[in-house]
Symmetry: C2
Subunit: 260 residues, 2 copies
């Protein structure tokens, strides 16, 4: 079958957004499909994670939106998720002080040990304000927001002057009939904050540079990628819903078929 | 009396934030006082407006925060206010399509005639959504926000992809016991928006360049400045409170004493 896209030949592997299906066909050839250059030591599943959309999201969000400087105080929510655990490590590479929050003590332990976060906390234990005060006694310079809602509202009060909020996700809000109202936006003025949203799809030109860099970092053991492969399309729905309950650790991938 | 600031000599005029008083003394010499270089044809009151904090606010907000391009659709709320009426004219100079909102038909008329806005509406007539749909059938690229609250929330839904919101003021919120919750921040992600707050105090180094430029524009009749001078410190409180009811047109200045 012909791809209709001159850059893709029969037999090529691609990554991109497809349906939940065993086979995908009848693509719009102008859809964002990125060719995979197979290398021996990277599993194909990585192209649904660190070498795909979530990885580029973390990279673009961190490098293009955060304007981070060495020594700044960085907070990542949903820090053990597919994007968050990469962002925290990118921030550490730059020399920032990085604290993450997650929904279980197991994840908090992972963040503080294997993933090298300076600190981490379980946001379900204690109230948000006390936790943020405790882990950021000198305030937050950069907040990488994956959750929105109540957390974003409280963080707005704890940001430092000229702070930056990278608005990457709002997982706390996706299943609400009415979004929570954010009351502390006046901090944007008093603290000269920026809030920026983005889509990695606008930065696909950065992908080759990113992919080369990130594979090198993994080979040098300077970056840990956490994925959780769930076999079988028939388990896709429960795997997806589980994410809203914080069941995933790292990037959750549903494997439709084994690599050939 | 000595100023304690080497750049200021006895008899100099300055602009800056002082108390509500006939005479100001005992200043922290490191406070932000900017020296006035008296010129013949600019009234001293202008240094409380177009040649002072509000003018530099409009200029910095527009030039540094909005990243505007020719032909973009710009919305200014509180457009007949001290900052808004300047921002709208700056946007027109760049070749943007500019619509302002204000609280009376008299102000709307002023915006559309003397101040050269492409269009303007009275936000108290009709509902916000219908007004924005009507005046921005192709969406909003830049929103210069002076009011916050319900207006900001509705505008978030009407912004275009890659839109920018310059968060300058939130006058609708200042006197509420509890701020209105903003529910449409998810648009920041879906539309890749930026929201940016700022303080002109961080950009005082731009003041000389700005002051020279803006005086030239006024002399060339390419910029109209609207001020309303209210004589007598005893009228200061009512003049101030009146602003929250939309009574001011342009910059409202309370004159403590006449120019000598």
């Amino acid at each position: 079958m012909k791809s209709g896209n001159e850059e893709l030949k029969e037999g090529d592997y691609v990554w991109g957004i497809t349906g939940w299906e065993d086979y995908s066909w009848n693509f719009d050839p102008h859809k964002l499909l990125t060719k995979i250059h197979i290398t021996d030591d990277v599993p194909l599943s990585y192209y649904a994670g660190i070498l795909g959309m979530p990885g580029l999201t973390a990279y673009v969000g961190w490098t293009e939106m955060g304007w981070a400087k060495q020594g700044e105080f960085v907070y990542v929510s949903s820090a053990a998720g597919g994007v968050g655990h990469l962002v925290g490590q990118f921030a550490k590479m730059l020399g920032c002080y990085v604290v993450g929050s997650a929904s279980t003590n197991e994840k908090v332990h992972l963040l503080k040990t294997k993933l090298g976060f300076d600190d981490a906390f379980n946001y379900k234990e204690g109230d948000l304000r006390s936790n943020l005060n405790k882990y950021f006694p000198r305030g937050i310079d950069i907040y990488f927001d994956n959750v929105g809602g109540e957390m974003l509202d409280e963080v707005l009060k704890q940001m430092n002057i000229n702070g930056r909020i990278v608005v990457c996700g709002m997982i706390s809000q996706y299943n609400l009939s009415e979004p929570k109202g954010i009351q502390n936006l006046f901090s944007v003025i008093t603290k000269r904050l920026s809030l920026r949203g983005f889509s990695e799809a606008d930065y696909r030109n950065m992908y080759p540079e990113y992919a080369e860099w990130v594979v090198k970092k993994m080979h040098e053991n300077k970056l840990v990628y956490v994925e959780e492969v769930i076999p079988g399309l028939e388990n896709g729905a429960s795997a997806f819903v589980g994410m809203f309950h914080g069941h995933n650790i790292g990037k959750r991938v549903v494997a439709v078929a084994k690599e050939s």
